[in-house]
Amino acid sequence: MTIQFNDETFRGDYSFRNSPWAIKRFPFPFHEDSYMYSVNMEQHRGGPAGSVFEKRFDVDEHYVSEMRDRALVLAEDPLRCQSLPHMTLAGWDLLELIMVSKSEDYPDLFELHRDGDRWRWVNKPLGIDDTFTFMDETTLPYGPLEYITRQTQGDFAVLDQRDDNLWMDAGMVTTQADWSLDFDIGMNFFEWHAPVPLAHEMGIFKRALKFLMNVQQGAPARRLNWTMTVNPLLDTSPENYHKWGIQKTELTAENIGAKQHLRVELQTFYRLPRSNALVFPIRCYLIAFQDIVTVPKWGRRLHRVIRDLPEELATYKGFIANRPLMIDYLSRYDDGLPTSPGVWADLETEPPLQK
């Protein structure tokens, strides 16, 4: 499978762009014209060919540039990747999972050769060819978690399962929607979700925790989450909020189409075999409003979702101040026609904009 890798930035001049291929396969998260929390889990067992759901760890045109951005974030702030001492075994489990999955799913890009515990890993897009001893940290340049997640798109929270709860005891977090690994590391499932409004009262987290604690080896799960970001900025961390927060105020009616991005997280959940830990990859996809509205159904739907979203959610997701501008822009792409159920673009069947 040949992918043309972009050379783009997610900061400064923001040269990030989605190709038509990337727009078509974008994981639009809304299956109906309104949004409320739900435990929207399903099995992570493939998906339509070419979709972001097809492979275990999706690789797209942004791969090389995202990894470059990650390396910059880590150089500035090493605390974005941490692993409590008892989680090293889980790090090895994750390294194996990603190397096996990617070498099988993208054989043109990644190779894994194993001879007992002597492994050779080839990552062609990043120009890496490393030989090491599995389970021996001294043979890798970083700990196993950091080593493999420096080469994999998306954030990774690695959760220890004990005492009827999940504990965020390790992670690589450089593309987060505004939470701090350094602050949250060591917290349990309810604690790290504490700031999310409404969901606790709805019992969402109790049900989600029960589900996640029963995710088993060989049977991963997935769900989508979403928020909004001004500019294709991956590093929207609390640590740097005093630097990037101001960008939220730079939105105008003229630039909103290009600057306002829908940010969708494809979250997957895998049971790790030797450690019994749960890994929670959070894969971030960005799309500018002006690209979303090229899909008529998505333009109609996004307008309705944003317009009718409860205020607490818009506030928690950080875009309450910009909502009026967003609604103004999006309303131009909503002709009031009904939309088909489900998330897919349905370009063949959904009518073009009637305005």
């Binding site: 701090s180 917290m187 700031p195 640590e239 927060g245």
Partner: protein
């Protein structure tokens, strides 16, 4: 001194209880300032408890007000020290030789209880097994999420980070590992627009 009722908050915000005697081979009690009153109340519930108790007490501004009364309880060991930092080497030494079955009781300010609980957890007794009772100052330990520095004894919202000087608003989101609440820049989206500080819980 009356006990404070903290307003209901988010799931990570600690909730404190009332100290009660528990079965155990040894008892470790750590308190600051008015927390001594909680230890006195505890002793009143079980006369025999103090004979097997090691008390670490930091009077802070209360000076001598409680020290004699704690001494009169006749604990197995009593340490009165100037600060938690000064007490820390002693606490770690005690924990290194302690056995499972040790009961831990913490009383006083959130900052003291948080730091002590973190030490005890690092030594191998889980947070859920440690008893806590709040007494005295409502001041918080705050970590600045930007520079990672911790500002002690914060009583207003917003406040100024004592390390990097940013104006931070006070969140209820709490880390037990750091024993601190999270402070986030308040004027990132409107530089210079800093509301009048308001006392916490008012």
């Amino acid at each position: 001194m009356s006990r404070i009722q903290f307003p209901k908050s988010i799931a990570s915000r600690p909730v404190y209880g009332i100290l009660a005697p528990r079965p155990g081979k040894a008892h470790l009690m750590i308190a600051d300032a008015e927390g001594a009153e909680a230890l006195l109340d505890l002793a009143a519930q079980d006369a025999g408890l103090m004979a097997r108790a090691h008390i670490l007490y930091i009077p802070r501004a209360t000076g001598e007000a409680y020290t004699e009364r704690l001494r009169a309880l006749n604990p197995a060991q009593l340490y009165v020290g100037p600060s938690f930092d000064a007490a820390l080497p002693r606490l770690r030494r005690v924990l290194s030789d302690a056995h499972m079955g040790l009961q831990v009781y913490l009383a006083g300010t959130e900052g003291l209880m948080g730091r002590a609980a973190a030490e005890v957890a690092a030594a191998g007794i889980p947070y859920g097994a440690v008893q806590t009772e709040h007494r005295g100052s409502l001041a918080r330990r705050m970590q600045c999420v930007h520079c990672k520095g911790i500002t002690e004894d914060v009583t207003t919202d917003p406040f100024v980070c004592s390390h990097c000087g940013l104006n931070l608003f006070v969140r209820d989101h709490y880390s037990r590992r750091l024993a601190a609440f999270q402070g986030v820049c308040i004027d990132a989206e409107d530089p210079g627009n800093i509301p009048e500080p308001v006392e916490l819980y008012k």
